[in-house]
């Protein structure tokens, strides 16, 4: 083989480094070469790929077939040319990146059988249901498998594979648009701008129809003898955007855990689960088409309109009762909200309590609140009495307790995790939360890597918007020297920008002073790149140290050695093997930690 992965895959961008490394690990050298080539050159024909990678055209073509199947590459053929063009498609690689977690998640919520099917779908890219069934002999297993497919499909973990999954969105859009534009007549009374806008609006409808098409019950399901099953001719793929929604829910629950409390977070997690399936997509297809929605305000409006529509359609709202039904039985919420019951023990408890000791801590806390708080307590007490809901402390999940937790989530901290649309009905403000989510993760990462002082300085700078060394030092109560060091650290990590303010005409350096400023989007992107690079580095590390012990690992793979390692390997070799294993596990652990952060910035 002549082609090699060009060294530039590491340096051209962190994404290129990560994606090529993953492709190399999962799909082999040739796939990695093709992907790296497509990332660096953009759209190419198979001949051009062959020319640029110095691979024989036959090898390129066979690699492209599997890559297209695995959704690692898009293809596009213009109507008037016979030449196919290929583009890199992120989704396939992201499927591999998340595969471990996807399978694990399916396993925990549905079970092993479900996970097996998902694994097979991931390995093959997509599966025709009837083909999958062919391999199963037993009738009962067949029926069970059909049910599993149906369940996964209705829960949206599997989606129908359609032709447009293989084409870049922008091309499909452009195609439809040009078509419609041609059909929109030119007339003397309408201006060209108006005509284009009209065509654009029509294209939006046509495009949405295309994306949402092929989903009618008739096409998807077959009902025989009152038994509903998926159409066996359906080809299904894994729905990555469904998994991303799950990632988002998990990240939000983690944020709630750190801001509000463990139990509230648990309730939040379950609430998120209730609406997860219908929650807005991470990225709407319209936003992936360049030039369609340019204005940031328009984009914001568009995203909000999607979310509002889901709320109006009651897709992402839930009621307290729904939530109560879904709580795990062992979740003990009793006494987790300290209302008057805590501060003024109720009658039954008074009767039981014969000595003073169990009550004394309550009294102490009441005293600590001071006099003026008594009014508040009475107010709470009255408010509670006016509500008809009773506080029953024997129930693990009393409605009133859940309601209190939901209220805490909606206005108990600086982040609004929930919005109460009507009494007892809540919705989740996804768009607004993503902002807080990214901000808090980012800041915590700064705290854990650059230290608490950097964290303080950065947050101060954020609140000041712009500031010089002196104003920062005064506000954070740190020595100017410390502040200077911290700002330097932040600057080195590209988290603050410097603005030069010259005070004399010749811009003399001695008289100039400098202002600092922090820009969120820039920092997040930079950080995300650093994270992606680190992930790729870890994968490379694992490969490297495996490479160092290649002979030993090959020996273990030999047929005669397998299963007889204890007899055939030296003690030192066994020790090395064990070391290699722990080292790999540790590195994979690190990899997943970084990945969990990286995901947050892809939301």
């Amino acid at each position: 083989m002549e082609g090699v992965i060009p060294e530039s895959y590491k340096t051209q961008s962190p994404k290129s480094y990560l994606y090529t490394t993953i492709a190399k690990n999962h799909l082999g050298e040739v796939a990695a070469i093709v992907i790296s080539c497509l990332i660096s050159h953009g759209r190419l024909t198979s001949r051009e790929i062959g020319h640029k990678t110095k691979l024989p055209i036959k090898v390129v073509k066979s690699a492209l077939v599997s890559l297209v199947q695995l959704q690692c590459v898009y293809y596009w053929k213009d109507d008037n040319s016979s030449q196919s063009h290929y583009n890199f498609n992120e989704n396939g690689i992201l499927n591999f990146l998340h595969s471990g977690e996807i399978i694990n998640h399916i396993k925990t919520i549905y079970g092993d059988d479900y996970a097996e099917i998902i694994q097979n779908v991931l390995v093959n890219g997509h599966i025709k249901i009837s083909d999958y069934m062919k391999n199963i002999e037993d009738e009962q297993t067949k029926l069970d498998t059909e049910t599993i497919f149906l369940r996964l499909f209705t829960d949206k973990w599997l989606a129908r594979l359609q032709l447009f999954d293989f084409h870049p969105f922008a091309d499909i859009w452009n195609n439809i648009f040009q078509d419609i534009l041609k059909k929109t007549p030119r007339s003397a009374t309408t201006s060209e701008i108006k005509r284009v806008t009209e065509a654009k609006e029509k294209t939006k409808v046509a495009f949405t129809n295309l994306l949402e098409g092929g989903q009618t019950a008739k096409e998807l399901y077959i009902t025989t003898d009152g038994y509903k099953r998926l159409n066996p001719n359906l080809i299904v793929r894994f729905n990555l955007s469904r998994f991303k929604k799950h990632i988002r829910s998990e990240a939000l629950a983690n944020l709630a855990k750190s801001r509000v409390g463990v139990l509230s977070a648990k309730i939040y997690e379950i609430a998120l689960g209730l609406v997860e399936q219908e929650s807005p997509d991470i990225k709407h297809p319209f936003l992936q088409i360049s030039g369609l929605i340019n204005d940031p305000d328009e984009e914001k409006f568009f995203i909000n309109s999607i979310e509002n529509k889901l709320v109006e359609d009651k897709k992402i709202v839930f009621t307290v009762r729904e939530l109560q039904r879904s709580l795990p039985a062992d979740l003990d919420l009793r006494n987790s909200i300290l209302t008057h019951n805590f501060l003024k023990p109720n009658l039954s408890k008074k009767r039981v309590a014969t000595n003073e000791s169990p009550e004394s801590p309550n009294k102490k806390i009441k005293l600590e609140n001071g006099d003026d708080d008594d009014d508040d307590l009475i107010a709470i007490f009255n408010a509670k009495n006016s509500e008809t809901i009773e506080d029953d402390n024997s129930d693990f999940h009393s409605i009133s307790l859940i309601q209190h937790h939901l209220k805490l989530l909606s206005n108990g901290s600086s982040i609004q995790f929930l919005i109460e649309t009507t009494p007892g009905t809540f919705t989740i403000p996804y768009t607004a939360l993503i902002k807080s989510l990214q901000q808090y993760n980012f800041e915590t990462l700064i705290k854990t890597t650059l230290g608490v002082n950097s964290f303080r300085v950065l947050r101060c700078l954020k609140s000041q918007k712009i500031g010089d060394e002196k104003s920062l030092a005064n506000a954070v109560l740190l020595k100017e020297k410390t502040v200077r060091n911290e700002v330097y650290k932040l600057f080195k990590a590209n988290l603050v920008e410097i603005q030069e303010v010259p005070r004399s005409a010749d811009r003399a350096a001695s008289k100039t002073f400098f202002l600092f400023r922090h820009k969120e989007i820039v920092s997040y992107n930079f950080l995300n790149n650093a994270l992606i690079f680190s992930m790729a580095e870890i994968l490379t590390n694992i490969q490297n140290f495996k490479e160092d012990h290649k002979i030993l690992l090959e020996k273990c793979e030999r047929e005669d050695v397998k299963g007889h390692e204890d007899e055939l390997l030296l003690e030192s070799e066994l020790k090395t093997l064990k070391n290699l294993q722990t080292r790999e596990i540790q590195n994979i652990g690190r990899f997943y930690r970084i990945k969990s952060l990286f995901e947050i910035y892809s939301l």
């Binding site: 408010a383 600086s414 506000a475 740190l478 080195k492 650093a530 997943y592 952060l597």
Partner: protein
């Protein structure tokens, strides 16, 4: 004073009867002794000025007289002329102090002379050298018995013109702990009646700390002997907000609550995680609460990395 004439002496006494630093104009002095002729006053005034018992002060276009105490006058009369001149400038600067370079510029004296005079004045404990927070390199002098102004000392956060970070940190901890105990009733001590995993006040609770209660807490517990004003408390609270240890309650300007993350980071609020605490919660409940994914907010529970060959660093990308 023996060589001062009787009338001059009386005039001086009468001038001293008014509060110090009162300025008299010519007419007022004449009224004090019921002198009608300016010439008569002129003689007396000249006599007092010669003995440094009266100072001339120019206010606007008018020339005014100010009495100087006998002790002060003795001090000045013992000085050389240069010393007296420098001393008068230092005296004028009051609590702000004066920079040696400014003295030199104003007096037009040679540096050697100025340094010599300053040294002699300092040795006699008439003046002292102080440090300014704003200009740490400048040598600034003021009268020995004066306290430097806040501008120079930098306020309560400075001890010997150095930012006293230890003092600040301990105050921050005290305030945070106070706020945390008001926000999370069982953060530092669990009670029988509360849930060991989370016990929060309901969302309509109002007993959180504000600037006044913090101030009262600090004064009543005699936490510091440094005088703090409400603004100082405010800047401490601001720092705690930057540290993400406190957060402002929405729609208020001075009411704070401690963040749950800060309580967690301080090592409180999670006794249930420890498997050894069997009686705190039962095993099934613990299983429900087990974290499902890695969260950076729980960084405190991550074991520190031992330096290893495969450790990757966050800055690996931009350092290469």
């Amino acid at each position: 004073m023996s060589d001062v004439s009787e009338r001059a002496h009386v005039l001086h006494e009468k001038m001293l009867e008014s509060p110090s630093s009162t300025l008299f104009n010519q007419q007022e002095l004449q009224d004090l002794l019921q002198i009608t002729k300016p010439v008569e006053l002129l003689n007396l005034a000249q006599e007092l000025i010669n003995r440094k018992l009266v100072k001339l002060v120019k206010q606007g276009d008018e020339l005014k007289f100010q009495a100087v105490s006998v002790a002060e006058a003795n001090k000045i009369t013992k000085m050389t002329d240069d010393e007296a001149m420098i001393y008068s400038y230092i005296e004028d600067s009051g609590r702000e102090g004066i920079w040696t370079k400014t003295i030199r510029a104003r007096t037009n004296l040679h540096q050697h002379v100025v340094v010599k005079c300053l040294k002699s004045l300092e040795n006699q404990r008439y003046i002292k050298s102080i440090k300014s927070v704003k200009h740490p390199t400048r040598k600034i002098y003021m009268l020995y018995n004066l306290q430097p102004s806040i501008e120079l000392t930098g306020g309560p956060w400075f001890t010997d013109s150095e930012l006293d970070t230890e003092f600040i940190d301990s105050l921050l901890t005290v305030i945070w702990r106070f706020a945390a105990s008001k926000t999370y009733p069982t953060a530092f001590q669990t009670t029988e009646d509360s849930n060991p995993v989370q016990s929060s006040y309901p969302s309509n609770h109002t007993g959180f700390v504000n600037l006044d209660t913090i101030m009262e807490f600090i004064t009543s517990n005699k936490i510091t002997n440094v005088d703090l004003v409400i603004n100082d408390i405010k800047s401490l609270c601001d720092v705690l907000v930057y540290d993400d240890k406190l957060e402002l309650i929405i729609h208020t300007t001075d009411t704070y609550k401690a963040t749950w993350q800060s309580v967690l980071e301080a090592g409180s609020g999670r006794p249930y995680e420890d498997k050894a605490n069997k009686d705190v919660i039962n095993e099934k409940f613990r299983e429900v609460l087990k974290p499902k994914s890695f969260s950076i907010f729980e960084h405190y529970s991550v074991l520190p990395e031992v330096e290893e060959a495969d450790t990757t660093y966050l800055d690996a990308w931009f350092q290469t």
